[in-house]
């Protein structure tokens, strides 16, 4: 066991360094930056619009005769008391600032000049002010102040908000494993084309090669996850206001921890199969073809797990949580919507058991085909999956 682990670590270390110190990995790492960059650019552009509005809120240059100005500022004051900041301030002036909206004319024929965006925002409030001034002029009547009181309109449960977090977690897991699966399969195809595999197979157990490669890609992916999580945190702190995301039911620290655990389990569950399949491929093109059904299978598992979010108690939700290959997706969704922790312990133990079996199967597939060692090994390997196979 020590030799197996030591050998696996030698291979994992080589593969990890080769993967992380490559241009491909840098591009892989930067992939999520593009949407963030786009969001940033959109924010800058929309920020420009806000600046325009802000200028509108600074005040509207009131350019009327004195009596009209008095009537309008009085009306504005009364409305602002009742409606608050939606009523823009009016500043009597003869010299408006550049770009500042202007209100001129009379109560009967008011004239508002502003940019298109500002006009959209100001037309309503200015109409209210003018109506209030006209009413005051006509009847001197002041409408009774309506006493305002807010009532809660939120549903007793916050499930819809939790659903967003659940779906976010599931989608992140799904896309990460899809991205990494491609990396895994191309790594295997490259290994075969380098013809290094025979060198490895002569020196270390095949299981160690398999496990080392799995560990290397897991390590590389965790490096990516840490980098992306840091970027995501910065983006969240920059773009989202506090409290705009409802925390998951288990709380953020446990959710993040469970997310990491489920990422590792889903990676090992699917990665072992991808690696076993990758060993059957003789070229990158073959590898891509072989990976397609697996990607579809993973998509089905993801969709099944989505049912856990919308129907946590029903049969589909339960099946999604029990089937090992959809279980991590389903359970991360559950962590967002339900505070109970014991199902996670059960699920993780169940997933670990299946991971051990999957690694044995993947390793047997890998061993059978990696050196084209012939059908004799293939048939006997089927039964050796469940027991230790001695290479003697």
């Amino acid at each position: 066991m020590t030799r197996l682990f030591r050998s696996a670590m030698v291979i994992a270390r080589r593969d990890y360094v080769a993967t992380v110190w490559s241009k491909t990995f840098l591009i892989f790492l930067l992939a999520p930056v593009l949407p963030l960059l786009l969001a940033g650019l959109m924010s800058v552009f929309s920020g420009g619009g806000n600046k325009d509005r802000h200028r509108a809120n600074d005040g509207i240059a009131l350019m009327t005769d004195a009596r009209t100005a008095t009537a309008l500022t009085g009306a504005r004051k009364r409305l602002a008391e009742r409606l608050g900041p939606v009523i823009p301030p009016l500043t009597p002036t003869h010299v408006p600032a550049y770009g500042q909206p202007r209100l001129s004319g009379t109560l009967d024929e008011p004239r508002l000049e502003a940019s298109r965006d500002a006009l959209d925002d100001l037309a309503g409030p200015i109409a209210l002010i003018v109506d209030e001034a006209r009413l005051d002029r006509a009847v001197g009547h002041r409408p009774p102040a309506v006493r305002l009181q807010t009532i809660s309109t939120a549903a007793p449960s916050t499930v819809p908000d939790h659903e967003d977090v659940a779906r976010g977690g599931q989608t992140a897991l799904f896309f990460l494993t899809i991205l990494l699966a491609g990396m895994m399969i191309s790594n295997m195809a490259e290994e075969k084309s380098n013809k290094v595999i025979e060198l490895l197979a002569a020196a270390v157990p095949i299981d160690a090669i398999f496990f080392g490669k799995l560990l290397a890609i897991l390590g590389a992916s965790l490096t990516g996850v840490v980098a992306w999580a840091s970027m995501g945190l910065v983006a969240a702190l920059t773009l989202l206001s506090p409290g705009s995301i409802v925390p998951p039911a288990v709380g953020w620290p446990i959710f993040v921890l469970l997310g990491l655990v489920y990422f590792i389990t889903v990676f090992l569950l699917w990665g072992a199969i991808y690696l076993g399949i990758g060993a059957q491929a003789g070229s990158a093109r073959e590898a891509q073809t072989l990976s397609m059904p697996l990607t579809l299978g993973e998509a089905v598992a993801f969709l099944l797990a989505s049912a856990q979010v919308t129907h946590p108690g029903n049969t589909i939700g339960l099946v999604a949580a029990v089937i090992p290959w959809s279980s991590p997706f389903a359970m991360i969704g559950r962590a967002a919507t339900s505070a109970a922790l014991w199902p996670h312990l059960l699920a993780i133990l169940w997933q670990l058991l299946i991971i051990l079996l999957t690694i044995r199967v993947g390793s047997a597939l890998f061993r059978t085909n990696i050196l084209k060692s012939g059908p004799a090994s293939a048939t006997s390997g089927k039964w050796r999956i469940f027991g230790r196979k001695r290479r003697d």
Partner: protein, 302 residues
């Protein structure tokens, strides 16, 4: 299995589909020897080596490497150069050699230290990516990686293929040096000259079976010497005295040495006034012996 034997195989059989690539190989490689496996292309040399090293499992038979029935148990003391050379193209020679040592249990730091010394000794660069090296240089790097952990047994599958004459000479020197340090060398080749120069013992494999095991001299003495005879006149009554297998090539008669020796034939030729100019008796070369052994097995020795 005997402690004086580095590698032993008993009745190794390997089938791929319906085809038996190896059909019962027995061999014993003495500890500290340079041992050659000779055979034509497709004879089963590589499959035999792969089975001996545990890369593939035999369908039948036993193998023992340095006293271990499970070949990987001896991995730390074995170095292997496969026929299909493979190195990670992005690695530097120093890292590649250290990595190959690490696979065999040598700590990376020590592997790097030894790699630097070995590369300097052979005038190879340390830190250039392998993809920028010539094929011969890359092959030498891989060979150094095979030896970096100072193995007791070095297995080389067709080590001379793809090397120019200079590098072949270097490789022969390296093999001799490792053998002088006590390592057992087992290599396969279909180029007889290398085996003739290097090997203390050889096996000839043809059609998946061992057809001969012994020294190169023993292989040669299994077959009669050749007689080369030239006369003043190419033809005459004396011709009837020549053995039935005699053939004239470039004005020289060639035939196998008769079982009763050369003297009776010489006396008969002189009596018939053959006018002998030159006479040479040449023992068969290993190449001749190899070709004869493979032909006996029904294989094409090409």
């Amino acid at each position: 299995m005997n402690g004086d034997v580095a590698v032993r195989a008993e009745g190794l059989v390997k089938r791929f589909g319906g085809h038996a690539a190896v059909r019962g190989i027995d061999l014993a490689v003495p500890m500290g020897s340079i041992f050659g496996i000779l055979g034509p292309n497709g004879a089963g040399k590589t499959t035999t080596l792969r089975m001996l090293l545990g890369i593939i499992d035999p369908d039948e038979g036993r193998r023992c490497i340095l006293g271990h029935d499970a070949p990987l148990d001896a991995a730390a003391d074995v170095g292997y150069l496969p026929e299909e050379r493979g190195l990670y193209p992005g690695m530097t020679p120093r890292e590649a050699i250290a990595f190959m040592g690490a696979l065999r249990g040598l700590p990376l730091a020590e592997g790097r230290r030894r790699a630097s010394a070995m590369l300097a000794e052979h005038g190879l660069p340390e830190d250039r990516p392998i993809r920028t090296l010539s094929k011969g240089m890359a092959q030498l790097v891989q060979l150094l990686g095979t030896m970096v952990h100072k193995p007791k047994l070095i297995v080389l599958d067709e080590p001379f293929s793809g090397l120019d004459a200079i590098n072949q000479e270097k490789l022969e020197a390296l093999i001799r040096a490792e053998a002088a340090n006590g390592a057992t060398i087992l290599f396969s080749t279909h180029v007889i000259a290398h085996a003739e120069r290097l090997c203390e013992r050889i096996v000839v494999i043809a059609s998946g079976k061992v057809r001969f095991e012994g020294t190169a001299d023993e292989a040669r003495t299994r077959f009669p010497s050749r007689v080369r005879l030239s006369t003043r006149q190419a033809d005459g009554a004396w011709r009837t005295k020549l053995p039935a297998d005699a053939m004239l090539q470039d004005g020289v008669w060639q035939f196998e040495l008769p079982e009763d020796g050369i003297e009776p034939l010489l006396e008969a030729l002189i009596a018939a006034d053959a006018g002998i100019e030159t006479l040479a008796i040449e023992p068969p070369s290993l190449h001749d012996a190899f070709v004869a052994i493979v032909r006996e097995a029904g294989d094409d020795p090409a």
